[in-house]
């Protein structure tokens, strides 16, 4: 497969506000495949670049249900089916005593699926990424804000997109080699 030697065009901004405004304008102008980078979470930024469905809550719900069922059924099967033992005359299936471990397993599975889900849907770990080729991008984890239009976008054309981004009064605009 032939790959575009250019991954995208990236603009650098000074403030969170400038990035949000630029993302808004770019998305409004019809660019679909864009991304924004910031050193801290900015409320509403993901929506500005067209991110609307967050998969994490559902992942955690499923993880929690699986965990709860695992916890309860494990105890039931071990105490009442596989090796029933009479302990102080209590029923084999002593459900009130099983509640705590069921609860703990629910939390355990839900928590693990929250973290693994976040990583999986974000495509992490990913030690290499083309945006790291831009030397100035190292400030994205400190005090600078970046907006990128990917070359895979339908509306992308090298000169026009560059001009468009320059019109947003960024600090600098650079090409991202892939």
């Amino acid at each position: 497969m032939k790959r575009d030697p250019i991954y995208g065009i990236m603009a650098e901004f000074d403030s969170a506000q400038a990035l949000v405004d630029a993302a808004h304008t770019t998305h409004q102008a019809g660019y679909q495949k864009i991304d924004a980078y910031s050193p801290f979470p900015i409320e509403g930024l993901a929506e500005e670049i067209g991110f609307h469905f967050d998969e994490i809550p559902l992942t955690v719900l499923i993880g929690g249900i699986v965990g709860g069922l695992t916890g309860y059924l494990m105890q039931y099967w071990m105490s009442a089916v596989d090796y029933p033992l009479n302990i102080g005359g209590k029923p084999y299936h002593s459900w009130p005593a099983f509640i705590i471990i069921t609860f703990e397993m629910t939390i355990l599975f839900a928590g693990i699926s929250a973290v693994l889900g976040m990583l999986a849907f974000n495509g992490l770990p990913m030690p290499y990424h083309p945006v790291f080729n831009v030397p100035r991008f190292s400030s994205a984890s400190k005090d600078r804000f970046f907006l990128i239009v990917f070359s895979s976008d339908k509306k992308y054309d090298p000169a026009g997109t560059r001009k468009f981004l320059e019109a947003l009064s960024p600090r600098s605009v650079s090409e991202v080699p892939s």
Binding site: F40, P41, F51, I56, I87, K90, F103, L108, M118
Partner: protein
């Protein structure tokens, strides 16, 4: 600035006002008023850059001082002492400890409960205060979480070694074995295994994912190529994409929501280890809430004992301000009063409940051979901390440091009283006994303190002790209008 906000809220307004703006006005008024008599969470004059540089410099550029080496060296030697004590225990068995019948639960359980309790403040700060939108938590949550993790690691040692044959400690877990028998799930001790191991796992995850964006910052700041690779691998290639942040924040909030009931359940389950038994002095329904309050009480004391020297030595007074100290002191005061209420109810029920064994346990606490530790406990946990009502002491780092130390001693004594005094005079006088901790008990206990400090020393030098990205969000420049 306050005045301007005040004017904006109460200046001339349009006649057309719906309920929503009124509520907003009221909120603004409240926050303006509250801001007046509170110290800032972060001192003015900082930018994204200075916050980043100041916190990451501790790890990246600042050389380790002689003081650090001395402190680390002592802590390391204490950890070696711990390994020696455990090694000897494995060789000889629990007979080297002071535990006998009737006191089968000695230092191991006292220290286990003490350490687990200390861990609770970290989760309270990182999860519960996050859900309550207490933004001041942002500068102390990172090392409080580290404290939780290390405290749980210290706590975990005790149940693992006190079983006598620690190489069989995996029998705690439902792992198939040659006997074909499964753990006994009706026992609170099994509940404890699940509660504590879940707590350790979730705390570790919470701490690590909180670190990911800051590890990316360190990766981008460091000039050492080896460190760059190390931090780069640990940060999992984090690049701060808006989509990533969105999922990250959802995950973080959900994890906080899960950790909140979890942390409350952990010390509740620890208290079940006692409360479900029929031993007088243990068999009481007040245990769960009063254990949780006591856990947070001792945990905040440990947070302050760590935060006060750290902020002094590393010059972090801009980020860990007097407001943090004061708020922590207020939490201690409140939880301390709950603990005091617990003691009162215990004593009251002993006297009023009509059970002669309960009444005797109370009498034994007040007049028995361990009366002096009991009075010391009351002094340390109930009487001395009342000086926190005085604002001057509440804001003085030196005073807070010593009061926190007193509380930690008091909370250790509390667990000693609960474990030892309840057991030492059994139902029959023929089976009364005394508990004398041996040097191995003390070596194990002091050894875990050394291990805790050693991990803390390493943490301070290797990872950012304050969450950098969460500090950035506290700056006014981080505010964005749609």
């Amino acid at each position: 600035m306050c005045c301007r906000e005040f004017q904006r809220s109460f200046g001339p307004q349009n006649a057309r006002q719906d309920d929503k703006t009124e509520i907003k006005m009221a909120d603004e008024y409240k926050s303006t008023m509250a801001a007046v008599d509170r110290a800032p969470v972060i001192e003015p004059g900082h930018t994204f850059g200075t916050v980043t540089e100041k916190i990451s410099a501790i790890v990246l550029t600042r050389p380790a001082s002689n003081g650090w080496f001395v402190g680390f060296g002592i802590a390391f030697m204490l950890t070696m002492m711990l390994l020696y004590a455990i090694g000897y225990l494995v060789l000889k068995g629990t007979g080297i400890w002071g535990v006998t019948i009737p006191i089968g639960w000695g230092f191991a359980i006292v220290n286990f409960v003490w350490w687990i309790g200390i861990g609770h403040a970290g989760t309270l700060i990182s999860a519960i205060l996050l859900l309550l939108r207490q933004s001041w938590r942002n500068s102390i949550n990172r090392f409080a979480e580290a404290m939780t993790l290390f405290a749980v690691a210290c706590a975990g040692i005790f149940p693992a070694v006190h079983v006598g044959r620690p190489w069989l400690a995996y029998w705690f877990f439902p792992i198939p074995n040659t006997m074909g028998v499964w753990p006994q799930f009706r026992s609170p001790l099994m509940w404890d295994v699940f509660a504590v191991s879940t707590y350790a796992t979730i705390s570790a995850l919470f701490w690590f994912v909180g670190l990911i964006p800051d590890l990316a910052t360190l990766r981008d700041r460091t000039e050492n190529p080896i460190l760059k690779i190390a931090y780069g691998m640990l940060s999992l290639g984090w690049r701060g994409s808006a989509r990533h942040w969105h999922r990250y924040e959802t995950m973080y909030l959900l994890l906080a929501g899960l950790a909140t009931p979890l942390v409350l359940s952990v010390h509740t389950v620890v208290s079940f280890d006692f409360a479900v038994g029929i031993v007088p002095g243990w068999h009481t329904t007040i245990f769960p809430p009063y254990f949780v309050a006591g856990a947070i009480y001792s945990g905040f004391a440990m947070v302050l004992m760590l935060a006060i020297p750290i902020r002094k030595i590393y010059g972090l007074e801009d980020f860990i301000t007097d407001r943090h100290l004061q708020n922590s002191a207020k939490v201690m005061l409140a939880t301390g009063l709950i603990v005091g209420y617990g003691y009162m109810i215990e004593a009251f029920m002993g006297w009023y409940g009509g059970d002669r064994y309960d009444a005797f346990t109370l009498w034994n606490r007040l007049h028995g051979p361990y009366a002096i530790p009991y009075y010391m406990l009351l002094i340390c946990n109930i009487f001395i901390p009342q000086v926190l009502w005085i604002k001057k002491l509440r804001t003085s780092p030196v005073a807070l440091f010593f009061i926190s130390g007193v509380i930690l001693v008091g909370m250790w004594l509390e667990r000693f009283i609960i474990v030892v005094v309840s057991l030492q005079r059994d139902f029959l006088t023929s089976s009364w006994g005394m508990y004398y901790p041996t040097r191995w008990d003390w070596m194990t206990y002091i050894g875990t303190i050394g291990m805790f400090l050693m991990l803390m020393f390493l943490f301070l030098r290797i990872l950012p002790a304050i969450s950098i990205f969460e500090m950035r969000t506290l700056l006014p420049e981080a505010e964005v209008k749609e």
